[in-house]
Symmetry: D2
Subunit: 292 residues, 4 copies
Amino acid sequence: MIPVCDVQNSKGDSGFMLSRVGVRGVRKPVCILRDIDGNALNSMLFCNIDVFVDLPAIQKGSHLSRNLEAIKELIDDSASTPITGIENLATDLCKKLLEKHEYASTAEVNIQAEYFKNSVTPNGRTTMESYTLYGDAVGIRGQGIRKTIGVDVIGMTACPCAQQTVTEILGCSDEWPVMSHNQRNVCSVFMNMDESENVEANGLIDLIESSFSSPTFEVLKRDDEGAVVINAHSNPKFVEDVVRTVLKKVVERYDYLDDDVEIVIRSESEESIHKHNAFAERTATFGELRNE
Amino acid sequence: MIPVCDVQNSKGDSGFMLSRVGVRGVRKPVCILRDIDGNALNSMLFCNIDVFVDLPAIQKGSHLSRNLEAIKELIDDSASTPITGIENLATDLCKKLLEKHEYASTAEVNIQAEYFKNSVTPNGRTTMESYTLYGDAVGIRGQGIRKTIGVDVIGMTACPCAQQTVTEILGCSDEWPVMSHNQRNVCSVFMNMDESENVEANGLIDLIESSFSSPTFEVLKRDDEGAVVINAHSNPKFVEDVVRTVLKKVVERYDYLDDDVEIVIRSESEESIHKHNAFAERTATFGELRNE
Amino acid sequence: MIPVCDVQNSKGDSGFMLSRVGVRGVRKPVCILRDIDGNALNSMLFCNIDVFVDLPAIQKGSHLSRNLEAIKELIDDSASTPITGIENLATDLCKKLLEKHEYASTAEVNIQAEYFKNSVTPNGRTTMESYTLYGDAVGIRGQGIRKTIGVDVIGMTACPCAQQTVTEILGCSDEWPVMSHNQRNVCSVFMNMDESENVEANGLIDLIESSFSSPTFEVLKRDDEGAVVINAHSNPKFVEDVVRTVLKKVVERYDYLDDDVEIVIRSESEESIHKHNAFAERTATFGELRNE
Amino acid sequence: MIPVCDVQNSKGDSGFMLSRVGVRGVRKPVCILRDIDGNALNSMLFCNIDVFVDLPAIQKGSHLSRNLEAIKELIDDSASTPITGIENLATDLCKKLLEKHEYASTAEVNIQAEYFKNSVTPNGRTTMESYTLYGDAVGIRGQGIRKTIGVDVIGMTACPCAQQTVTEILGCSDEWPVMSHNQRNVCSVFMNMDESENVEANGLIDLIESSFSSPTFEVLKRDDEGAVVINAHSNPKFVEDVVRTVLKKVVERYDYLDDDVEIVIRSESEESIHKHNAFAERTATFGELRNE
């Protein structure tokens, strides 16, 4: 006989409701089936999953094993009901959590996964690059779901200020771009929207990658390495410039998104001349950006 | 002659303001001078400092070196004007940032540091334990500063549900506490308040440490190890229980704090029976908690 | 025309040879095709790859892009020449590195990847668990390759000493196992062998998983949670015991391996009663173990 | 009465000795008193301490609490017997471990700590920079102690190959240094020696810092930022060059060290044009280096 421990259902000692109770760090391989320009594309993602529901004051504990069952059921069902993105998996998980935790009024899911995508060097060679995808969702019982799609992209920034300072110190001519400090930059974009709206990760990655001083590549032979360095110095950018370039492109590209879609854009440079990082961020709704 | 590169002051390309521009990961040793029950106490903290200001659309770049100068000046002045806590250092940094960045209307500072404090085992031996302190501040020009004090404390939780399930499976008597799974738990508390209010870190740490199934200790001889295990199993707690115990104690102890003080309490258990973690959180104002 | 920068081939300034020059942190999805008891099994692994060769004193620089080309070629060829394990990929990479870097006399490859495998709870439910695999190889030109297969497995340890101390303090009867502290334990095993020898990762994982106080599981309903706790306390183990149990099983199971196969076994417990970890390790050859 | 649990002293189940048993991740503030050119210098270091002894086959468990007592006693005694460096603390800990663990024949200690030191920018401004120090020791009963002093230093490398490739592509004149990619580089040096020998950390840090394309600084006003960029591009270095420059300087500076002193030098660049890192390493004895 299965024991019927009911400690969780007993009355809470303290009388306080809790905002979020759940599990963090569940690891799961998930097969994603996307439609990219009419072609079916399968990708395997190794997901890190956090799930939470709220807990009323009256109940002592949340049934944590139900969270793991919810995850398992959705993934088991994916043969018949394909998962079309981790933000959509997060959305479906929110719905299932509200079904399984009848005492809960809110559910939240955060998913993170590494993602690989082909890229092309300045001289036309194909490489494979690594990115981090985020798919989140928050649901309130009876009020629908808001989901978030996010991505981290690594690129390169060359500093416009040091370039001008060096030009002044040395009296360089403007025949070709002048040296500067340059470094790895991580640009992250998160877009929070109604569950009915959609943003394709590949397009968002391309948009971000074109907003650095230069994208970066896994393999660079001499001529490509030279081209990347020249491109970056012809296109120097502060962290501020990376964020503003993404802002401009996002407003243009995602003109179909609602005014209430919220966006966070971050750019962080691992400064080559300092041991600390430079950072810029903008948080706004599309409505605000369209009026700026 | 010092070059007068003015790239930062040139007009922004894109017309978008930025919410936060600054530096992350600045490392600094800071000497803190506190008054603990009438006694002056010096502690050296190795701080990780992030500072940001906003940037109007009209300006291309933020003057990042001013952030480092602001940090340096406050620490250099600490011989004459002692730093009384990292949340107060964060507050003073916000003010200095608004002075130095005349174009900014908001400033934000996040500081994190390891902290050591003596503790006493159940059988009276003295040990030294390690904690993480957080001191944050956000200022809006002309509207004052809100600061946050936070702390991570590591303790131990023993599961009440497994204890009851084992009792049922084996038919254990209630002569002494029954075995359960137990594990490391990290409980974090953050309190956001007006800059004029104060919460002493030592008191907050003690409060949290008394909210686990048991605190944990650097050195435990046999009798103390046995006492910790017995105490933990006599006092089994879910992550939910840890948060609710802290909630109850915080409301009692900090009765002098304003209703608008916001608190976040998190408890995360590195479950010994799973590879993932259990998690509970409450976010609320003191006003809300007092009416619950 | 492709520029013919030959900085790398110019004479070294300092006259010192270098032991290892290469790249670290290359991320690659790799499809592994294994034969498990006569069945073909495909697994996708997301690999972190480090590759190095030595550099003679006479040469200024190593041709780093050749390392990336070597990785790419082996993975591109895997349609016709399947990759049968990351330790075998490491072995083949060593050979290719020695081909591509004609000036090198040694090559080294370290690969790490997350791996998922089904497991079964005490009461027969199927779960999916996460592990870390390691595949390394070192080659000396003209002397063959030594490869290493390794794995991290997370399990649970319950302390035998605290159990006895509690028994003495409380005067517990021996009707059922007594409470103790228990915690997450990471057990890592690395086996270094000639490239012609083989160890299947699944078997090694099972062996380690059966050497804890109890394995741990993704989903545990009440009866399974109770069974895991009872099993763990019926089978209390120090970190020392975990290593010795693995040693005993490894010698029995891998009786076909040469005496010169080297093994490292580590067990690290995230102690629930302390903020620090307990650790045990044995490094030995199979020859030494067989004579102990 | 203190319980006399003797589980550790009981006979081992499996008959295998263990190479290293102990604790990892003990956190301790340690006050170091050094003599720098005749001046007493106090520094507070927050140490991460790992300690191990071996365990004979005959004994079931190592007495882990003795490790914590050994650490506590040495630090408590430091008022009368000052600690003159973390490598010397590691040495003294090894001796005390062998006293306390009468069954052990080897002891090992690894200590790591953040360290701050003043530096001076090209134009003479004072800054404070952060480093990581390592102090290790291994002792064999009756055979003395070998200790290791190590340090991580962050600097900047500019690539000589990209600089030449760009020169060729653009046909740049050689009036001033040409642009290249540059990035953060971490150079680590570890020196293993008899306990009677000494290497001052400050001198080793200065030596490494002068081996990059340029050191990096916490605060850089315009003129200093320009100078750092110009210096780095006038002094382009591969990771290989950083290691060889350190090798050359180390052999010159530490001419008083024995031929059997072992050195490991690593240089790792967080490549701005790639998502992966470039890496070079040399492992050698001073005797080998002196004959190269």
